[in-house]
Symmetry: C2
Subunit: 407 residues, 2 copies
C-alpha cells in the first residue's frame, strides 16, 4: 500500500500557488491574507476528507479522523506560513503529506485504534512574529498565551489582532493534551541527504539553538564635516560584531553554525553616520555545551567592538533551547517505516527548529526528512524531487499506521 | 544697521514646528506633507515681504525684491527639507536669514542697484530622492531634468509625481540664469568654529565628494542546517567592506572621511543567511587627488571581501564632484562683512555638499558658516547659539548689500 503520488503532487501545486512569487518561490507570512487563503484551502480539503476541524486560541488548526477506541491521537503536522521570498516545500510539504496520509487511509477504508489527526501550527517561521514556533510553544506551556498575543510585527500589529482579522482566533484552549505520537515530515534544509544520495532522514533530535539581540547606540552625525577622530559609528561596531560572530564559528569549529541574519541601521542614509543599529545572532550546535562555550565569546566580541568604537550597547540572549532528543520508540517506528517504504535512509539531526521541538516536551515525537536540493531552503530555489517526496510520504503513512495501530 | 534678532528667532521657532519630532528635532523629508507645509509657510512670508514669488519645474521657489537697475540679482538661499530625525538648523536657517535680510532691507527702505532674491532649493538632502542637491544640479545643467523627474524614493514614488502632489511642480524653466552672486548661510556641521570660539566661517570652497553603491549577491539559505563551509553570506561580505572602508580612512589619514551610511539586507530575518545586501560609500577630502587614491583602495577592499566569501557584486562610483573653490570676490565680500558685523571669524572649507556647489559652476558663489554645537548635525541635537546666528545673519545682510550695491 502507498500514497497517491499524482494526487499529492497536485496538492503541492495547488497550495503552492497561494502566495507564489514571480520566480516560483513563496511569500506567505503568518496571518496575512495569503496565509488566510492557504489556511482556507487546507481546511476545505480537510473537511472533504471527512475530518472534524477545530481551531484553537492560537489559530492552530486540527482535523481528526476518529479511531476505533477512545485513545489519544497520532498527530501529523507542520505549518503553512513561509519566510519572505521563501520556497514551496518548507512547512507546506509536511501538511500535505499528512493530508495525503489521511486520504490514503480513507481510500483503503483502514481503521486504526487511535485517531489520526492533522495539525497546522501558526507562525512557525518567526519571520513576522517572534519568537518562531510561537504556537507550539504556547501549547507546550513554554510561552504564555498573553505574551504570544502581544507579539508585534514590524508594523506594530499584535498577533492576536492579526489572528482575529483573518478569522482564525479559535475558541479551543491552546494547551497540552495527550497524544500517541507527533510526526512531522519536513525538508532537511541542509545538504546531507542529497550529498549521500538518500531519500529519507530518520530524525533523532533537534540541535540546541540560541538567539540574541544586540542594540548599538552610537552618535548620529553628518558624514561630511565630522572628522574620523570624533566618530562613534554604530554600523562600524556592528560590522566588527558580524565578523566576530563568523570568527567564533571558525574558532570553535565542528558543527557550530553562527549567523547574523537581521540588521537595521538608523537613519540609514548615504550621508549620515549611523547613530543606531540592531542585529540578531543565531547560534546552533548538536551539543548544548557548545553554546555554553560560544555565548561568552559573543559577549566578548560585542564588548570589544563597542569599546573600540565608543558605542553603547544592550545585548540580550533572549531565546534558548537545549538539544532536543526525539522519543526512541517514535524514531524506531520511523526507521522501520522508511525501510518498509523502500527508501534509502539514514539517522540524522535537525539543524533547524520545528514545532516538533516543543511537541517533544509534551509527548512522543519524531520527524521525517526529505532532501533539499543544494541544501537550500528559505529561498525561492527550495526544491525536493517528487521521487523523494513519495518515499517520505509513504514513510509517514507507514509510521502513523504502526503508531495508531491498524485494526 | 543690523537684522532684527527677535523676529529672526521667532521665524526659526515657527518654521521649526512644521515636522518637529517629539525630541525637538525635525523630520521634513523632501516633497512630503511636512515639506509642503514648510514651503507654504515660507511662501506666505515672502509674499508678506512684497516679493514676487515664482516656482520652477524642479519646485525651486524664488522671491525677488526689485533692484534699481535691470541687472542680475544677488541670490540668497538654502533648503527647507531635512534628513529623518534631523535638526532645525540645517537648511532652514539659511532660508530664514535670507528672509530676515530682505525684511531688514524693507524696514530700512534700502534700495539696491541689483535685485535681491531669496531661493529655496528642492530635495537638497538626498534623504528621500537621490542624488542630493538634485534641483540645483538641474539648474546648473549637471543633471538632466528627465533624470531628476524619474528619481524614485524607496516606495517607488517618482520625484515629478511627488512635486505635483504637493502643488510645487512649477512652470518656470529650471535653467542657469545670470546672477550677481549666490550667498548661502549654513551651519558648519563640523566642530571647528565651536572649538576655536568663533561665530562665523568664511567658506572658501567645498571638499571633493564621491558616492559609491555596492550590491552584494550571496546565497540565501536557512541559518540552521546550512554548514559554515557552504555559506556565501552577503552580510559577512558587507561587514568586511564596512571595516575596510574605515581602514582606508585610517591608512590615508589627513582630512579624508569615509562613511558607510546606508545598508539594506535581504531577507533580513533572524534565521536566514542574508542572500543580498546593498550599501553606500561616501568619501570626502579637500583634495580631489586624495579621492583618486582612495577609490582604487575601495575597489580592492570590495574585491577581496567578496572573493573570500564567494559573493558576486556590482560596485558603482556613481557620483563625484571635485573640490569646488568659491569666487574670490564673493569670499572677500563675506570676509569684509563678517568683520564689519563684529564677528570673530576665520576662513574655512565645507565638508558637506550644498546647493552652493552647483551654483558655483554657473556664477559667483560664496557661503557663510555658523557653529554647530559639538560639531553635530543631521541629528535632533543640532544646535547653534542665537548670538552666533545673529552674527551670521548680519554677515549675510552686509555681504548681500555690498554685492547688490546700496544706492
Amino acid at each position: 500500500m502507498g500514497i497517491d503520488r499524482k494526487r499529492l503532487e497536485r496538492s503541492i501545486d495547488d497550495l503552492g500557488r497561494i502566495g507564489e512569487t514571480p520566480r516560483g518561490g513563496l511569500t506567505r507570512l503568518a496571518l496575512t491574507d495569503e496565509d488566510k487563503r492557504g489556511r482556507d484551502w487546507i481546511v476545505a480539503r480537510m473537511r472533504e476528507a471527512g475530518l472534524r476541524v477545530t481551531v484553537d486560541q492560537m489559530g492552530n488548526i486540527f482535523g481528526e479522523r476518529p479511531g476505533a477506541e477512545p485513545l489519544p491521537p497520532v498527530l501529523m503536522g507542520s505549518h503553512v506560513d513561509s519566510v519572505p521570498t521563501g520556497g514551496k516545500y518548507d512547512g507546506q510539504l509536511g501538511v500535505l503529506c499528512g493530508l495525503e496520509t489521511i486520504r490514503t487511509l480513507n481510500d483503503q477504508r483502514i481503521r486504526t485504534r487511535h485517531p489520526v489527526a492533522l495539525v497546522i501550527f501558526t507562525n512557525e517561521e518567526g519571520a513576522r512574529f517572534q519568537p518562531a514556533m510561537i504556537a507550539s510553544g504556547v501549547m507546550a506551556g513554554k510561552i504564555a498565551l498573553e505574551d504570544a498575543y502581544g507579539a508585534r510585527d514590524t508594523d506594530g500589529v499584535r498577533l492576536v489582532d492579526a489572528l482575529e482579522r483573518i478569522g482564525y482566533l479559535g475558541s479551543e484552549p491552546c494547551v497540552a493534551r495527550p497524544f500517541r505520537a507527533y510526526l512531522e515530515l519536513h525538508i532537511e534544509q541542509g545538504p546531507i541527504l542529497e550529498e549521500e544520495g538518500l531519500a529519507v532522514g530518520v530524525v533523532e533530535g533537534i540541535v540546541a539553538i540560541s538567539w540574541s539581540r544586540l542594540s548599538l547606540h552610537g552618535v548620529q552625525d553628518h558624514a561630511g564635516p565630522t572628522p574620523m577622530r570624533i566618530r562613534h559609528d554604530a554600523l562600524v561596531a556592528a560590522a566588527e560584531v558580524i565578523a566576530g560572530v563568523r570568527g567564533i564559528a571558525r574558532e570553535i569549529g565542528g558543527n557550530l553554525v553562527a549567523t547574523v541574519g537581521h540588521l537595521t541601521v538608523r537613519p540609514n542614509i548615504v550621508n549620515a553616520i549611523p547613530g543606531a543599529a540592531t542585529l540578531s545572532i543565531d547560534l546552533r550546535d548538536p551539543r548544548t555545551e557548545t553554546l555554553d562555550r560560544a555565548l561568552p565569546l559573543v559577549d566578548r566580541v560585542v564588548r570589544d567592538a563597542c569599546a573600540r568604537e565608543g558605542v553603547r550597547y544592550e545585548l540580550e540572549h533572549y531565546w534558548r533551547v537545549p538539544f532536543t532528543p526525539f522519543a526512541a520508540e517514535v524514531v524506531a517506528a520511523v526507521d522501520r517505516a522508511a525501510r518498509a517504504s523502500g527508501a534509502r535512509s539514514r539517522r540524522i539531526l535537525s539543524g533547524a527548529g520545528h514545532d516538533a521541538q516543543y511537541m517533544a516536551a509534551i509527548g512522543p515525537t519524531g520527524m521525517i526528512f526529505v532532501p533539499s536540493r543544494g541544501g537550500r531552503s528559505h529561498c525561492e530555489e527550495e526544491f525536493t524531487p517528487m521521487d523523494d517526496i513519495e518515499y517520505g510520504a509513504n514513510t509517514l503513512l507507514l509510521a502513523a499506521l504502526e503508531l495508531a495501530g491498524r485494526m
